[in-house]
């Protein structure tokens, strides 16, 4: 049973540098200069899941992104990991898209491929972090979809056994192919790229499609297709007093306990500790 697998990825500014993101006081735009663009970390778990399934059942893995033209660098990395082909959806008309317009455009790109069995997305992107694109893409494609998938097994008769995170627990599901899965970082450990992977990637195709290549309604694309509109942006002011406690470790510990007491926290007495040790606190 050969599988056609699509993995949607998003190039994002490296989250390790988000402390350096700021708002330009003059232009009022977000400045992210000098921050490298990487594959959204959890999207790599999607690539890994796809490659594992392909290794087991055979088939083809296509990576897809909607991004500016320089995203080919990120697509090359996905190809070096082992994906077979890459598609870049890139057009000025796609710009300014919210999650509804983004997922619509991705769906149109996927529909242009020769069918699919499974679509993988990461649960959320590091930058916008709405976590909405995977579910909405599933809706546009008209297939069952699950979000926050952390375990995946038992592929037989075109059925997957999937677990998703719940509040303080998990849910277990059976889902028939074709389907879409939004995967979490617990699902697997993405592989590193090898020198051989990089060499092989050189001969793998990267196709670019613009608006004219897709069978899409123009009013559903980009800013025009986005029901949400962006208003003002600002940086939250979280500054506090920052009073520095000094002295010996013992003095600092005393000061911490005193501050907790002042804040209304019950400071345990020695008796409490004995009860805890006994394991039967009433």
């Amino acid at each position: 049973m050969a599988l056609k697998i699509v993995v949607c990825i998003k190039p994002v500014p490296d989250p390790d540098y988000y402390d350096k993101v700021s708002i330009d006081p003059v232009t009022k735009r977000i400045t992210r200069e000098g921050i490298p663009t990487i594959i959204n970390p959890v999207d790599k778990n999607g690539i890994e899941a796809a490659l594992k399934l392909k290794a087991q059942y055979g088939g083809k893995v296509t990576v897809l992104t909607m991004a500016p033209p320089n995203a080919t660098e990120n697509l090359k990395e996905a190809l070096a990991m082992g994906a077979d082909e890459a598609v870049l959806l890139s057009d000025r008309a796609f710009g300014g898209a919210d999650t509804l317009a983004t997922s619509y455009t991705l769906a149109k790109g996927i529909e242009k491929l020769e069918g699919f069995d499974i679509v993988f997305c990461g649960t959320e992107s590091a930058d916008g972090a709405t976590a909405q694109v995977s579910s909405q893409l599933g809706e546009w494609l008209g297939v069952p979809h699950l979000w926050n998938v952390f375990s995946l097994e038992n592929l037989e008769e075109r059925t997957l056994r999937v677990r998703t995170k719940a509040e303080n627990g998990f849910m277990e599901w059976e889902v028939k192919l074709p389907c879409l899965l939004g995967v979490s970082r617990e699902l697997n450990k993405p592989r590193f790229i090898s020198a051989m992977g990089i060499i092989k990637a050189k001969n793998k195709p990267i196709t670019t499609w613009g608006k004219a290549d897709l069978d899409a309604e123009e009013e559903r694309l980009g800013l025009a297709g986005s029901p949400t509109k962006a208003g003002a942006i600002f940086t939250p002011d979280l500054k506090r007093k920052g009073e520095m406690l000094t002295g010996s470790a013992e003095e600092i510990a005393d000061a911490i306990i005193e501050k907790l007491r002042t804040a209304g926290v019950n400071i345990p007495t020695k008796g409490d500790a004995c009860i805890i040790e006994g394991g039967a606190r009433q």
């Binding site: 500014p13 988000y18 402390d19 708002i23 992210r32 919210d98 999650t99 930058d127 972090a129 709405t130 976590a131 909405q132 579910s135 909405q136 599933g138 069952p144 979809h145 699950l146 979000w147 995170k165 719940a166 509040e167 303080n168 627990g169 849910m171 277990e172 599901w173 059976e174 389907c179 029901p227 949400t228 509109k229 962006a230 003002a232 942006i233 600002f234 940086t235 979280l238 500054k239 506090r240 007093k241 920052g242 009073e243 520095m244 000094t246 470790a249 600092i252 510990a253 911490i256 306990i257 501050k259 907790l260 804040a263 209304g264 926290v265 019950n266 345990p268 020695k270 500790a273 805890i276």
Partner: protein, 328 residues
């Protein structure tokens, strides 16, 4: 009449507290709208009728009660069409969801069916002079906040993580209950089948209910120190928490004790952080704590700026001193 709806999340015989936080916020938003307003809750599940009382006490004036044995387990292929149909019939102006495991999927799924917008993970919301919902949402790990509006389509949807808004006081009140007929609904033949919901038993005080939280960052350096934080938390009747790297290193038991943009948002009376650098991803989840104390050996650590008090010191020695003082 302006209608503000809240999705009531009732799972495994428990109403998620975010529902009550959202109802409290919905009441506040209603007061910012002109003319007559109505706050309603949508409650889906099986054998859930007794929950209506709580929803009414926290501000639901109307409750759409969608009950069927087929709905005992959450399934987006059943729940989302119910919501979509109800919305199409009743035309609410605003619809709020918890950004929980369920709400984070159900909200955007229904929005895609309704072709409307969702502001995700709001940390603040208000009604502007045009009577539009203005939601502040974090991006770049909380470093930037952006306002999101949904001016032309309805409902204006938004999701909010548990712990962001404060839950109000319950009042003795009755709600009008509208039973939604779903007698024809069935999970049979769906390509997606919910098999089970497993609950993990959490030990001690849950992180989101703890009055005092002892939090460890990458700087704690080892699993043993995580154990010390748990001990401190236990003796205080509080909870131990951590940042992403502590989960990744395997020192902490899992994401359920992680605080930050992709973890929990907490607002304890007091938060004491050890070896935390102050990355925005984490700060975003703990900034609403009453008192914030940070210990980090690097005196230039960004975390001190967002702390009420701090100590540039070796956290091992401070931890040991705290243990001695409390006789642990």
């Amino acid at each position: 009449m302006k209608k503000i709806w809240v999705f009531a999340e009732y799972v495994n015989c428990t109403l998620d507290r975010v529902t009550l936080e959202l109802l409290t916020k919905a009441k506040e938003l209603a007061s910012g709208l002109k003319g007559e307003t109505e706050v309603a809750a949508v409650l889906i599940g099986s054998r859930i009728g007794s929950t209506c009382k709580t929803l009414a006490e926290y501000g639901a004036e109307k409750i759409y009660l969608v009950e069927s044995d087929e709905l005992s387990l959450y399934n987006p292929m059943l729940y989302a069409p119910i919501i979509t149909e109800l919305v199409q019939k009743e035309d609410p102006d605003i619809f709020l969801f918890g950004a929980t495991a369920i709400g984070s999927e159900l909200g955007p799924t229904a929005a895609a069916q309704l072709k409307t917008g969702v502001a995700a993970h709001c940390v603040d919301m208000h009604i502007d002079e045009n009577e539009h919902l203005v939601a502040a949402v974090p991006s770049f790990g909380g470093k930037i906040l952006g306002e999101i509006l949904c001016p032309d389509t309805r409902p204006q949807m938004a999701s909010v993580k548990p712990g962001i808004f404060v839950q109000g006081e319950p009042e003795e009140r009755e709600a009008q209950i509208i039973k939604v007929d779903v007698s024809a609904i069935t999970a049979d033949n769906l390509p997606l089948k919910a098999i089970s919901l497993e609950k993990k038993e959490t030990e001690g005080v849950p992180l989101d209910k703890a009055e005092v939280v002892f939090c460890g960052g990458y700087g704690i350096g080892c699993k043993e120190n995580w154990g010390k934080l748990e001990k401190l938390a236990a003796i205080f009747g509080g909870a131990a928490a951590c940042t992403r790297p502590v989960v990744d290193e395997g020192w902490a038991p899992g994401e359920h004790v992680m605080v930050g943009t992709s973890g929990k948002s907490i607002r304890p009376k007091a938060y004491v952080g050890f070896g935390i650098s102050g990355a925005t991803h984490h700060i975003c989840g703990m900034k609403d704590s009453g008192l914030i104390i940070s210990i980090n050996k690097d005196e230039k650590a960004a975390v001190f700026e967002v702390s009420d008090a701090g100590a540039a010191a070796d956290l091992n020695r401070i931890l040991d001193q705290l243990m001695i003082k409390l006789d642990l």
